[in-house]
Amino acid sequence: MRKGRSWIEGLLALPLVLPPTVLGYYLLVGLGGKSFFGIPLVFSFTGILIASLIVNLPFAIQPIQRAFESIQPEILESAQVSGLSNWQIFRLIELPLAWRGITSAAVLTFAHTLGEFGVILMVGGAIPGETKTVSIAIYDKVQSFDTTGAGLLSLILLGTSLVAIALSYGVFGRHPSPPKRWEV
């Protein structure tokens, strides 16, 4: 059981260490020729969405997992002896307590996805208006000596990343609270 869990955890963390082009290559080969509800996966927005999801999985899973693990077992036991069902414990106790980890994972993953380059290029192929992301556009602009355009786009990405990191570190004061606080 423990061994199986380690394998799954290792597999999910693989994109952290795998070169993006290698991952992109396998995704290109793996998704090639397949479609999702009639939309071809390679060289399409859906394709880069799926690819980004796989690449960014470890960035989301690890902080969320840590957030759930850091809840003291006694807290969950006291919820059990208070008569809550497992689902109620998850909804009323675990989710609100892990919320900070979940939001910070979401923000960081968002920022990381914006800057994704290698995998997107391999799977998406930089089709203008379809799969050309900001980071690919910056690269293209530099290639064509448009430094003003590249600088402007870089500034946008820098600003977005800064806001994201500030949000996740709680620079703006309060940490984001659950969207609707469940009444207990």
Partner: protein
Amino acid sequence: MLKVKISQAIPNPLQLNIECTPGELHALVGPSGSGKTTALRTIAGLNNAHTGKIECDGQLWFEATEIGGVEVSLSPAERSCGFIFQQYALFPHLTALENVCIPLYNSLPEVSERKQLAQQWLERMGIGELANRMPSQLSGGQQQRVALARALARTPKILLLDEPFSAIDAPTRQSLYKTLAALRKDLNIPILLVTHDLREADLLADRITVIDQGVGLQTAPPQVLFERPRNSRVAELVGINNKFEGIFTAGKLTWNGCQQIFNVVDKGKIPPNTPVAWVITAEGLSLNADKSTLSVEVIVEQLSTLGQIAVIQLRTLEGGHAVVWEASAAEVKRLSLKVGEIAHLEIDSGKIHIMPLRPINDPRRFREAS
């Protein structure tokens, strides 16, 4: 009525047979790692025992046999017990009031009803005005009161307290003792208290079960436990100072190394020439300046006066046994006791309690058997 009969060898040895009647406060006392908390958690359903049976208020909560395995095991949520943790275990993201609302979540569908009842419980615990504070804004004692309100809000069938006062400072502890004493009159449910503090158990409990290495050694009212411990290990665990060894033959007890022979009545269970341990309570000892036929010569080794109470360390001239005598400061003054002087210790043989050296319920025997 709570009836618990559980037994297991791993992961922690446990062999316990206790009953607790409604309104009774039953303390489980033992050193750290003796299995007290494991026992409590097993009753609450947070652990399962290997074999045994737990019944509460006529309802079967747990049953497992060697052959059939676990046959009945209600989940902690189904067992209806209030559980108080040592470190309070309040939900840190909820206010004191919301913490107390949690156990009412399934029984009262209306939020306003839940809040109203929770507020009543907080007021009953004397912390009604702290309802909107977060746990981090409460002191240890206040947190434990919230935890008590939370445990009782569900109107549980039993209340289980796992070292509830150990993390709380002494003055607050006293006021919590009073709250608990007042509550148990109204609640009329079995209350089990786990503690390593004998004084606390003596103060609060109707009966005490002494646990060592997972085995319940003796269950008795505090007074009986201190006067007549079942065996040498119990005497040691309940901290009896004056515990000695001797040989017992047909009503006569010889103190090792002394001439003095005491006439002691026992139930006739001890065979002749048996090495025994014996204890004597403070009331059975008196110190005199003059010699008498029953007295033993002692030397005063240490004398410490703490307010009105004096603790005197004595050593018998024959046998060299250390004896602790507690008396009032006035008594010490009357006898004009001084360190290094000889006095005469009289032992009331009627207050002597003898017991086998090897506990009948020895945990080692349990380990060998399993």
